[in-house]
């Protein structure tokens, strides 16, 4: 009994002032993931990496938009999204205070425009993603003309690409060349 009393006095105050004073968390604590739509290219890498399916993406071809969303109610704060993001658009913060008054507020969304295929006008991929790919493919020294050309190629849908290739082959007259060889 005396030993216990001694221990109680030795301990003093064991509790924190929280929530009236901020609570210190460890360095590199994994808390709420923050998404920066300005940097996001809507490539969906994070939606595939996310183990609990907290991050998702929905495409609306009629409106020509792609909606990225994260549900903090499902998130397990593993940070796989941060690891997989090619542009650093999603980062984990030390924030652990996620309580909201309404369940819907747990979901955050970002809407991205889709790039349309220059040939058929159908949506292909997110416009930002097409830009990102075109910039990499064209390389740093590309002239504006080259860049525009690469962007057009990158935003052509697979169907139109196939059709264009066939047209190109016809224009080249490959069958005549083959006849000559024979």
């Amino acid at each position: 009994m005396l030993k216990l009393l001694k221990e109680v006095f030795r301990t003093g105050e064991a509790t924190h002032l929280y929530p009236f004073a901020p609570l210190e968390v460890a360095k590199d604590f994994r808390g709420k993931p923050e998404h920066n739509p300005a940097q996001c290219i809507a490539c969906a890498a994070c939606t595939i990496a996310c183990p609990p399916n907290a991050i998702g993406m929905e495409t609306d071809p009629v409106a020509g938009t792609r909606t990225w969303s994260i549900s903090y109610g499902r998130c397990i704060f593993c940070g796989r999204c941060e690891e997989s993001c090619p542009t650093g658009a999603i980062r984990l913060t030390p924030d652990f205070e996620l309580a909201v008054a309404r369940k819907e507020d747990l979901t955050k969304r970002a809407v991205f425009k889709l790039a349309l295929c220059p040939c058929c006008g159908e949506p292909v991929a997110a416009a930002r993603e097409v830009d990102y790919v075109a910039t990499i493919l064209a390389g740093p020294d590309a002239t504006p003309d080259q860049l525009a050309r690469t962007r057009e190629l990158a935003s052509t849908c697979p169907d139109c690409k196939r059709r264009n290739d066939v047209d190109l082959l016809i224009r080249m007259g490959i069958e005549r060349q083959m006849e000559k060889r024979i």
Binding site: K3, L4, V8, A26, F29, R30, I76, F77, G79
Partner: protein
């Protein structure tokens, strides 16, 4: 995979088995140097398992049912035996069951430890163990449709939930008592455990004559979920969530099962980090149990003190992993975070504080006069019962058996350092508590030694090849005992089958024997001594068979009776 015939451990056991039963074994496949799967004829299955279990120091670790019809046209059973004699290895006894008969000879009459596994495989796959005395369901609710077997590949979507057909519990509880008894049901939401469970205590006056229980009210269908919705790499994060207290042990067990199956070499530094984090988890888990032992013996200030000190272990986990619960650190092939120099220094400082504070608290606990009276000779687990049912962790070590996966089958960083196995011969709650106390100090020593012994180098192996239909075991010693995972890869970047067996699964069947002969007021303490996960939303029902009446007692009231031992709710 790379095992050569010289380095394989366990060949003598197989040779002895073949000599005894020349025609039983038809095939042997080695997954690693100390893991072998032998295929046996269906009719010799019970004999083979019994021979390995009782004649070669085998313990039943898990049993896996598998629907392999799309691979080879059969159902398969894998009885996993941990061989703990001279040659320490895992022997997996595999047998094939034809989809036409769906029957296999039950192993339970010769090895009682198989009882829960065989009941579960009947629920999940519809495979009938012929000769199994217990005809009741184990995992599925009693009003689940008769011909719906969730883990068959062609049965149902993982999201399907059949409507319940009735509200009443119609499970038949077993009572072996010879005399007339009163029934004391604890549940349907159970006492002291995270999983709701329904306990029936059959009492004569205040003495428990027999006990039976029903678990799996919150079966989460994780195995089905992992096999259908997730890629094999994401399952590591699901495995974390198997348990809210010892989740990291599951994650390591799962990751190493896939690593063993695919022959992935995990860097030595990652192995050491895994072991350090496993010991961190053991620190906070054992402190939790010590606190709860105080709570259930009515020593609530001790409970508060242990939980205060336990916070240091949580801080340690938060610093090392970025999450208070050591979550999301494993990947297939290694770990995601290194332990840096400053973290190492902070860890050493924290565990030194922990050692000093816990020593003072234990001194207080052990000198509390009524403590020994509540825990000594209470909840006895007879060593022979323990031998028959293969319990794990401090429960089996408190009954004098030297079983510790870390020492028997060194995994992760435990290969780098030796460790003692703490046993106690008292077989009671005191012994189990003393085992946990000794293990707490061992964990601190282990962390210190592992931090020193951990070699430098990479922490993750990448660029391995995923190959279809490979399978192997992965195992860890969680704070509550051995966790055993068995994984088989599919052909679609997913798992074909994931069998995850948590340590407490092996400890439930012996609880019945531990409760017998004790008083009702000790029941929560005895249940607590196997260290299941705790919850406080429970309530208790009392049925008096002599007077043919039933009533329900709030769990709080039952717990209060356990602490104060006055004003019995039975009266």
């Amino acid at each position: 995979m790379t095992a050569t015939s010289e380095t394989r451990i366990g060949q003598d056991i197989l040779a002895a088995l073949r000599a005894k039963m020349p025609h039983a074994v038809t095939e042997e496949r080695w997954q690693t140097n100390d893991q072998v799967t032998i295929t046996v004829k269906l009719n010799s299955l019970p004999d083979v398992v019994r021979t390995l279990y009782y004649e070669h120091d085998g313990w039943l670790s898990t049993m896996v049912g598998n629907d392999e019809r799309s691979i080879n046209g059969t159902y398969a059973l894998y009885y996993v035996l941990s061989m703990e004699g001279a040659a320490k290895c895992h022997v997996v006894v595999h047998t094939e069951i034809s989809p036409d008969s769906l029957e296999f000879p039950s192993v339970t009459p010769s090895v009682p430890a198989a009882v829960w596994y065989e009941r579960e495989v009947r629920d999940m796959f519809g495979l009938r163990p012929v000769g199994l005395p217990d005809e009741r369901r184990l995992v599925l609710p009693d009003d689940w449709p008769d011909d719906l077997y969730p883990l068959r590949k062609d049965s149902m979507d993982y999201r399907f939930r059949p409507e319940p057909t009735e509200d009443n519990e119609n499970y038949r509880f077993v009572n072996d008592a010879k005399q007339e008894t009163t029934v004391v049901p604890l549940g349907p939401l159970h006492i002291t455990s995270d999983e709701p469970g329904h306990f029936r205590l059959f009492v004569d006056g205040e003495t428990i004559i027999d006990a039976d229980y029903r678990m799996f009210y919150v079966h989460r269908g994780m195995e089905k979920l992992a096999e259908t919705r997730m890629g094999y790499n994401e399952v590591t994060f699901l495995a974390d969530r198997v348990c809210g207290i010892c989740g990291y042990a599951h994650s390591v067990a799962y990751a190493s099962s896939v690593e063993n199956a695919l022959g992935i070499e995990v860097p030595a530094r990652a192995q050491a980090i895994r072991a350090i984090l496993l010991e961190t988890e053991r620190l906070h888990s054992h402190l939790l149990n010590l606190g709860l032992v105080c709570h259930f013996t009515g020593f609530d200030s001790g409970f508060m003190q242990f939980f205060r000190v336990r916070e240091k272990a949580m801080t340690l986990a938060e610093m090392l992993t970025g999450s208070r619960k050591t979550y999301a650190i494993n990947l297939i092939g290694g770990v995601r975070r290194d332990i840096l120099g400053e973290q190492k220094a902070a860890t050493l400082a924290l565990i030194a504080e922990l050692r000093a504070e816990v020593t003072r608290l234990l001194d207080i606990l052990m000198s509390t006069p009524n403590f020994a009276g509540r825990v000594a000779n209470v909840g006895r687990l007879d060593p022979q019962i323990a031998r028959d049912y293969s319990p794990v962790g401090p429960v089996v070590r408190g009954s004098g058996h030297r079983r510790d996966t870390r020492a028997d089958h060194p995994f992760a960083g435990y290969k780098l350092v030796g460790l003692p196995v703490n046993t106690q011969a008292g077989c009671d709650i005191l012994s189990r508590t003393q085992v946990r106390i000794a293990e707490f100090y061992d964990s601190i020593d282990l962390i210190e030694r592992l931090l020193d012994a951990a070699p430098g180098g990479p922490i993750l192996t990448e660029g391995f090849t995923y190959r279809p239909h490979r399978f192997a075991l992965g195992y860890t010693e969680a704070p509550r005992g051995e966790d055993m995972h068995w994984s088989m890869t599919g052909d679609n970047q997913k798992l074909y089958r994931w069998r995850c067996r948590a340590s407490t699964y092996n400890n439930w069947p012996v609880l019945r024997y531990m409760l017998r002969g004790n008083t009702v007021s000790d029941a929560p303490l005895i249940v607590g001594s196997i260290d299941p996960c705790y919850s406080c939303t429970d309530r208790v029902t009392i049925v008096d068979v002599n007077k043919a009446r039933a009533r329900t007692i709030a769990y709080k009231e039952m717990e209060r009776y356990c602490r104060d031992r006055t004003n019995s709710p039975l009266k």
